[in-house]
């Protein structure tokens, strides 16, 4: 009795079986490799390096600015708020004071933000009606900053190591050549976003467009720099817009006046000064 076998030699059979098994075992690796080959990786810098350059870009030792915020609702109704902001670098730590000047119902309200060692922040609030400075909890990251479309997370500097970064392309925004940088916040960063996709202007390392995606992968907020100016050799976002795509609500933030490196007094960033309105 002859039993038909496709392979007349067991060795050949075992070899082919081995190849098939090897392929099956390493199939995910091949797929990943194929995916990797599809992504261009020959950029002159890595995503992390680009994020670091964005983080480290020159913003002056200190600055003082008069700014205006316009909140625009879905129906087009506008509310305007003006404030003055002072910032000063103390090594790698930053101190910042924000004082609202209009409208009348919030005029005098002040925020003092003091970065301290270890990545923490001391925050103080002064409400003229209370007549005292109140230490407040470093706000929930996803909490809106004075009811604008900016959250506290949007306003703060994101440490580079809090996210994984990858350059995914090069595109033009307007006439500006940009790197496309995808940042995925790590779990411990407690970000409200799953992916932050930024278009970083080449040469000046400044994000001019940011799209924020939630954990479901939906685009929820869009930030755009509409105007940049080189002031005292520092590229400055003169007019930016943040849009909440779900609420159809926008906040425009505009600098009316800004000066850098004026040797701001340390006294500005004290609780005593916060009380003096």
């Amino acid at each position: 009795m002859v039993i038909f076998l496709p392979f007349n030699r067991p060795f050949l059979f075992l070899s082919i079986l081995g190849i098939v098994l090897t392929f099956l075992i390493f199939y995910p690796v091949f797929v990943s490799a194929a995916d990797l080959m599809a992504i261009r990786t020959d950029y002159p810098l890595t995503g992390t390096e680009l994020a670091q350059r964005v983080y480290d870009r020159e913003i002056g030792d200190d600055s003082a600015a008069q700014m205006v915020m316009v909140l625009i609702s879905k129906s087009g109704r506008k509310r305007e708020r003006e404030f003055t902001t002072y910032r000063k670098d103390y090594g790698s730590l930053i101190k910042q004071l924000i004082r609202f000047t209009t409208p009348a119902d919030i005029a005098g309200t002040g925020f003092l933000n003091l970065e301290i060692e270890g990545g923490d922040t001391d925050q103080f609030l002064y409400l003229p009606a209370l007549r005292r400075v109140r230490r407040i909890v470093s706000s929930q990251k996803s909490h809106r900053f004075v009811n604008t479309d900016f959250t506290y997370e949007d306003m703060e500097r994101r440490p580079v190591e809090d996210s994984d970064h990858q350059i995914t392309g090069e595109e033009k925004i307007g006439d500006t050549d940009c790197w496309v940088l995808e940042s995925r916040p790590k779990k411990e960063a407690e970000s409200q976003y799953a992916v932050i996709k930024g278009w970083v202007a080449k040469e000046i390392y400044l994000p001019v467009l940011i799209e924020n995606f939630n954990k479901k992968g939906s685009l929820i907020k869009k930030y755009r720099v509409n105007r940049l100016e080189n002031i005292q050799n520092i590229w400055t976002e003169i007019k930016v817009v943040m849009e909440d795509l779900n609420k159809k609500h926008r906040t425009i933030m505009k600098i009316r006046n800004i000066v850098y490196n004026t040797r701001l007094s340390d006294h500005i960033f004290t609780k005593q000064n916060l009380e003096n309105w």
């Binding site: 755009r224 701001l264 006294h267 005593q272």
Partner: protein, 655 residues
């Protein structure tokens, strides 16, 4: 295969394998990266350490204390004898040390003069440059020049020494050359303006405005108009007021002459300003036998100087001590307007007083001294309103069937107040020391003051025993056998010494705060309608939390202990324990806020609950709708006002 031949081949191949494998192992174990040079550079705003490497580095960075050091470990890297720049005097970096920390780790240590966290970044090869790891140590102060140069400038600030300074500075800079560094941020060769325009965003704001210098105003005017109407939810007593209307208009002017003479944004100049505000306050209770008050007065008026680390404020003002909300045992500098009891917020109840305040803050600590020359009592009504001490007793007596002489006697009783004479010795003064230690804001204070609430020295009906609380009926029921004297109700004010402590901190995401105060004596009304004085210890502990989705929770626990408590004291027990706070949530991007405030006494189960809705959709206008609900037995502090539940609507327009 012949086994002997196999062994021979194996014997020959073994050393070859060892050599080949060993070579590859060695190659594999050897660090890939290599430090070529460590260079020291500088700039007016920072010192720079540049580490040249063969490949892109993998590195870790951490700080050490005593002395301050920053350590950079570069993985998979060898450190041969490389060129190292020597340390440069007058910088933040004392020296730079480099060593082979382990087989595969090179370590660079920056010894710093003071604590600093450098910026670290990587630069890829460019032209003839290698891979570079760059550490920028920024000057934490002023202009960022080398400290020695900075000190020199500070020392030699006189104009006469300008030439000398120039020479020394140049010499110093020559000695410590600021090296030309490769620019991290390349200056773009494009124009200095980028406008990224598309349909996104909004172009309504004129961009030309940016070049318009800010208006330099020296006089700022602001104020508000507030109108509030309230109505009782039900009629519980015959003569109570069922309606309330209050109108306040305040106009405030602030004159800051320094705003014009200095750059508004530099914040450096010593600051002087004068502030004055006037207030019109109309309060009406009705409609039955209505009662009204009208005041038009200077509300606040003071001069303020900040001279370096000293601050002086002279005039009529409000000074807040303490940290807790609504119930604040250490906040005793200003008296209160209690004509609506505690319905207005603590801040709105305060009455400005003439004071001289000095505050000195040389460093982390803050010393404050206050002198109050003229006594200002709290405002209360004695008769004729729902919130007054004796409420509607005169109207009740008029309506009841009583002997005429008794009616006339009771209706003729008046309150005779004696305030402390306006002499220097009768001034009040206080000191406060505050500061922050490891994230805890702490304060200690002492106040030598007058009690702002009256002390009832004598009541014309002698040997009175009211029972648990005051009411018209209780009073009339207690009159049998009493001696009715033809005299007024004598009221005066007593001295009080108060030692206080306060704190505020953050634990995780919860704000914690508290106060404790010891009063050597406080006056309490007794059932004979005269006062007794007892030592009191009062503390409050509170926590608040701002949650996701705009929820806010504030919770406070307070405990008042009356030492040597007397059973004749009305409304207060020996231990008075209560909870107070609020729960709120914002809606419609903050345009609508719902708040439930509460004050609940655990000791006597009385309560005051005040739910309200604030609508702020229209700019500068606040519309408030809410309830004030009191409950409890009539012998309790809150229950005494049980008949006064009301609904209210108020409008406040800010100008």
């Amino acid at each position: 295969m012949n086994p002997v031949r196999f062994l021979k081949i194996a014997f020959l191949l073994f050393p070859v394998s060892v050599v080949v494998f060993g070579f590859y192992s060695y190659s594999w174990c050897m660090p890939n990266n290599r430090i070529s040079a460590i260079r020291f550079g500088g700039h007016k705003s920072f010192n720079r350490i540049t580490i040249d490497l063969k490949h892109k580095p993998r590195y870790r960075i951490f700080s050490l204390k005593n002395p301050s050091r920053v350590v950079v470990d570069i993985d998979d890297c060898i450190l041969p004898q490389v060129h190292q720049d020597k340390n440069v005097e007058g910088t933040l970096i004392v020296r730079v040390r480099a060593s082979q920390y382990s087989n595969k780790t090179a370590r660079i240590v920056l010894d710093l003069k003071e604590k600093n966290q450098p910026h670290v970044f990587y630069l890829p090869p460019e032209g003839t440059s290698l891979h570079r790891l760059v550490l920028d140590v920024k000057y934490p102060y002023k202009e960022g020049r080398p400290r020695a140069f900075q000190k020199l400038v500070e020392k030699e600030s006189g104009s006469a020494s300008r030439l000398r300074l120039k020479g020394k500075a140049e010499a110093l800079l020559e000695k410590n050359p600021v090296r030309t560094i490769e620019p991290f941020l390349k200056q773009t060769e494009k124009k200095n303006l980028i406008i990224i325009s598309d349909s996104f965003g909004d172009t309504d704001l004129s961009l030309r405005e940016r070049n318009v210098p800010p208006k330099k105003k020296t006089l700022f005017i602001k104020g508000f108009i507030e109108a509030k109407g309230a109505m009782d939810t039900e009629k519980k007593t015959e003569n109570e007021h069922r309606r309330l209307f209050r109108n306040k208009v305040r106009l405030e002017g602030k004159w800051s002459p320094g705003e014009k003479s200095t750059h508004k944004l530099n914040g450096k100049k010593d600051k002087f300003y004068a502030l004055a505000s006037i207030e019109s306050d109309y309060l009406w209770f009705g409609s039955n036998h209505s009662n009204e008050d009208y005041d038009f007065d200077l509300y606040e008026g003071y001069l303020h100087w900040t001279l370096g680390s000293t601050e002086i404020k002279l005039g009529k003002q409000i000074v807040r001590w303490g940290k807790t909300d609504q119930v604040s045992p250490v906040d005793n500098l200003n008296s209160h307007d209690f004509r609506e009891f505690i319905i207005p917020d603590l801040e709105d109840r305060k009455i400005p007083n003439w004071m001289a305040k000095i505050r000195i803050f040389p460093g982390a600590y803050n010393f404050e001294g206050v002198y109050i020359p003229f006594f200002e009592p709290s405002r209360i009504d004695y008769f004729g309103t729902d919130w007054s001490v004796y409420q509607h007793v005169k109207q009740d007596v008029r309506d009841l069937s009583l002997p005429l002489y008794l009616k006339e006697y009771l209706q003729a009783r008046l309150v005779h107040e004696t305030e402390p004479a306006k002499i220097f010795e009768n001034g009040q003064w206080g000191v406060r020391l505050s500061g922050t230690i490891s994230g805890w804001d702490l304060g200690f204070n002492y106040l030598y003051a007058w009690e702002s609430l009256p002390h009832y020295e004598s009541f014309p009906i002698k040997n009175l025993k009211l029972g648990d609380s005051f009411s018209s009926q209780n009073l009339l029921d207690s009159l049998d056998g009493m001696a009715l004297m033809e005299e007024d109700i004598e009221v005066n004010y007593k001295r009080s010494k108060i030692c206080g402590f306060e704190f505020e901190t953050i634990a995780n995401k919860i704000g914690l705060r508290g106060e404790a105060a010891y009063f050597n004596r406080q006056s309490f009304l007794t059932e004979s309608l005269t006062s007794v004085r007892k030592p009191v210890f009062f503390y409050v502990l509170g926590a608040d939390y701002l949650g996701e989705n705009d929820w806010y929770i504030n919770f406070q626990f307070s405990h008042q202990i009356i030492s040597g408590h007397d059973d004749e004291i009305l409304y207060f027990r020996r231990n008075n324990v209560s909870l107070n706070g609020e729960i709120s949530k914002e809606f419609l991007m903050g345009n609508l806020e719902a708040i439930v405030g509460y004050h609940y006494s655990l000791s006597d189960e009385s309560y005051y609950i005040y739910p309200k809705i604030i609508y702020k959709y229209i700019t500068d206008l606040e519309i408030l709708l809410g309830f004030n609900i009191f409950g409890g037995d009539t012998d309790t502090f809150m229950g005494f006002y049980d008949a006064n539940d009301q609904v209210f609507l108020s409008f406040k327009y800010y100008m």
